[in-house]
């Protein structure tokens, strides 16, 4: 069951971020950007399904991708706090995406070497999508960072506010440790230096300041979320909770 917890740790990030991006569909700054962001959402939800289907197979019984996605309590979701942050404005959505994408790509590069064949295969498929996400969000960070004075200010604010959630990406849970020792999981602590180096490169190129911060927020990996999460779940789980045990 440690493997299932490990899968949640990866897949819940994709689900919650996919859900957040789904909120934006139809409300983008223009049609082209709207379509692009929706593509990222669709990629992430597709990835979620691959992981959950695998988890459901391990869990057996009545478990399906949907019971996992929709019928857990808030404390059982293991996504990092970063991905549940709201779409305050386009700068936040892009900042959140960028800060996650760079981590996501580093994670998948290692995960494709997993001893677990299924997990390795999923990672290999996802990595191409995430390479594109990273390209997309990095390009936008540069446009907003080095665009107009207003966009620079908004982008800097978003990065400053979201920075506090970055350290958690590199925390190891018990499930992580167990999976790392079995050669299945990725040791995320080892990704940290590379992560900040890549992030900083792009921020500098974008003429943005790298935030200096000593204290970071954490908890998502242990199911202790920010207050935003409850509303996100209330929305996402509405149908399953209101009409239990039905096929849709």
């Amino acid at each position: 069951m440690k493997l299932v917890q490990y899968l949640y740790g990866i897949a819940d990030n994709a689900l919650i971020l996919g859900q957040r991006l789904g909120e934006l569909c139809g409300h983008g700054p223009n049609l082209e950007t709207d379509i692009a962001m929706t593509n990222i959402s669709l990629d992430l939800l597709g990835q979620t399904r691959s992981y959950y289907q695998y988890a459901a197979q391990i869990l057996g019984g009545d478990a399906t991708e949907d019971t996992i996605a929709f019928l857990r309590s808030e404390r059982e979701y293991k996504n990092v706090l970063l991905v549940e942050q709201p779409n305050t404005d386009f700068a936040y959505s892009i900042g959140r995406q960028f800060l996650f994408d760079v981590y996501h790509l580093l994670l998948l590069q290692e995960l494709q070497l997993s001893q677990d064949e299924t997990l390795s295969a999923i990672a290999k498929k996802c990595i191409k999508e995430v390479q594109y996400h990273t390209r997309f969000s990095s390009d936008w960070i540069k446009r907003l960072g080095d665009g107009t004075p207003e966009s620079k200010e908004r982008m800097q604010n978003a990065i400053n506010d979201l920075w506090t959630f970055t350290d958690e990406l590199f925390h190891q849970t018990e499930a992580d440790q167990a999976m790392v020792s079995e050669g299945i999981g990725v040791d995320v602590t080892k990704l940290k230096d590379n992560y900040y180096q890549k992030i900083n490169e792009i921020l500098i190129e974008s003429t943005l300041a790298i935030p200096e911060m000593k204290y970071f927020q954490k908890g998502g990996k242990h199911g202790i979320h920010t207050e935003h999460m409850g509303y996100l779940l209330a929305d996402m789980q509405y149908m399953q909770r209101t009409f239990p045990n039905m096929t849709w």
Binding site: E32, T33, R135, D139, T148
Partner: protein, 93 residues
């Protein structure tokens, strides 16, 4: 501030085929035009290669000149194989 300019998108659907015009879109720069083209015009595996060209960079012939441009080719039947009369048995030359 100016609006995002218009770009023409050409997609090669598979190797061996030419790039074909498939539509247009708006983007602020060439990088974005390429990314937008990928997101807008190749969502259903329509392509293996994309070109984007600023619409303003295209010089088009004027339909008013169609007479002088295209009519003169009409009576040059000798450019086509059917112009030449060959015996039946050589039909497939």
């Amino acid at each position: 501030m100016k609006n995002w300019p218009l770009w023409e998108v050409f997609v090669r659907s598979k190797n061996g085929l030419e790039h074909r015009h498939c539509g247009s879109l708006h983007a602020s720069d060439a990088t974005m035009a390429l990314e937008n083209a990928r997101d807008v015009y190749t969502r259903r595996m329509e392509g293996v290669s994309i070109w984007v060209v600023p619409s303003s960079a295209i010089t088009a012939s004027n339909p008013d000149n169609n007479g002088e441009f295209f009519e003169p080719a009409k009576d040059k039947a000798y450019r086509h194989p059917t112009f030449y009369e060959l015996p039946e048995e050589l039909k497939h030359m």
